[in-house]
Symmetry: C2
Subunit: 194 residues, 2 copies
DNA sequence: CAGAAAAACAAACGACTGTTTGCTTTATAC
DNA sequence: GTATAAAGCAAACAGTCGTTTGTTTTTCTG
């Protein structure tokens, strides 16, 4: 009955594998990234990846989970620094966009790789993303808005435009993630003044 | 010197190939769709596709071109029915979203397949999409807005949120493409009233 | 230091990839 | 009606795909 369990070895390269997988999934997408690409980037042989993950889909899910964790963490920390509803939403929008465009690869994979493109893991990916987006639903619910304002539309419009910005954003430009998120919030906020 | 040029045959299946390619590219994305998938869907052998297209990338470009043509056509027709700037932009937004979510496969491929995912054709795809998006820049430029309003942000926010709706829109729901586009416009428009 | 588990190597499996080549069928044009 | 070009078939090319299996190396644990 002695289940001999041992701690991971100190020289293990799981973290490196995840980092390189995140980078490649973000750069080329899921289907266009091969297990051989990831293995080569991590300096190991293709078959070795299967010691850590039983399938390519599980590797993606692991990256996805870390991405959601990172964004959630940043957004929650940013929101906690404010008290007024609109300022909390603005802080969330800024943190969300900075996580996507500045933090690195994990976060971007979450909105770059579409769940429907990974049939065997779509359900798991959607569950992760839905849980995160509920954060924004709560922030929008707390806004002081005229009764006729469509809160769902407001939330979807904000998140949609933020997420889409990955496709046109250029690092060199003068528009920072923070400035973009703020201008979007301003466009929405002005509309809701009595 | 007699260059014997002949008309395409009446039984040719080029249109069918394009239709099936558009459907598959929309459903599974570019990388996950194989030439064999397309050939099988069109009821022919893989090699036969190369009579019509010299490479998979060219097949995508052909679908893309038709998609841009369709959206442009619908948006221009819708805009022409109105005179006041905000109504013209709203008509464009509605037509854009209906083209994506109702018209069919060609239009959706244009925003579903990312140019960067098709290295050999990225430049061609981007040129097509930029030309189309200039339509919206003109419509936004014509809006009567306060001097401090950021017109670029407004355009990017509108198009971004419209394009992102492909990811959450469900046909069964009560929200039609028309209603979604109108609620987005309303959120922006109210903000700009003096 | 000995034993065991962790982590990776080495090599291959069959299936699938985009594409090419040569040949055949068939509608069109004169 | 017959030459001719359009369209597609049939079969294969070399390469890549995700994954499996057996073995080896290396670190940790007692």
């Amino acid at each position: 009955m002695s289940e001999t369990q041992r701690l991971p070895r100190s020289d293990n390269r799981l973290k490196l594998v995840l980092d390189e997988a995140a980078r490649l999934f973000r750069e080329k997408g899921y289907a266009a990234t091969s297990m051989r690409d990831i293995a080569a980037a991590a300096g190991m042989l293709p078959g070795s990846l299967y010691y850590h993950f039983t399938a390519k889909e599980d590797l993606l899910v692991a990256v996805y989970e870390e991405g959601v964790r990172l964004i959630t963490e940043k957004v929650q920390a940013a929101v906690a620094r404010h008290e007024r509803p609109w300022e909390r939403l603005e802080a969330a929008a800024v943190a969300h966009l900075e996580a996507l465009l500045k933090t690195g690869d994990y976060a971007l994979v979450v909105i770059r790789v579409l769940p429907r493109d990974v049939p065997g893991a779509a359900a798991r990916l959607l569950r992760l993303r839905d849980r995160y987006e509920r954060l924004f639903a709560e922030l929008v619910a707390a806004l002081p808005l005229p009764a006729e304002t469509d809160r769902d539309a407001l939330r979807l419009m904000l998140l949609g435009s933020l997420n889409w910005s990955q496709h046109w954003f250029r690092e060199d430009g003068r528009a920072t993630p923070r400035a973009i998120a703020r201008s979007y919030i301003r466009l929405l906020r002005e509309a809701q003044k009595p």
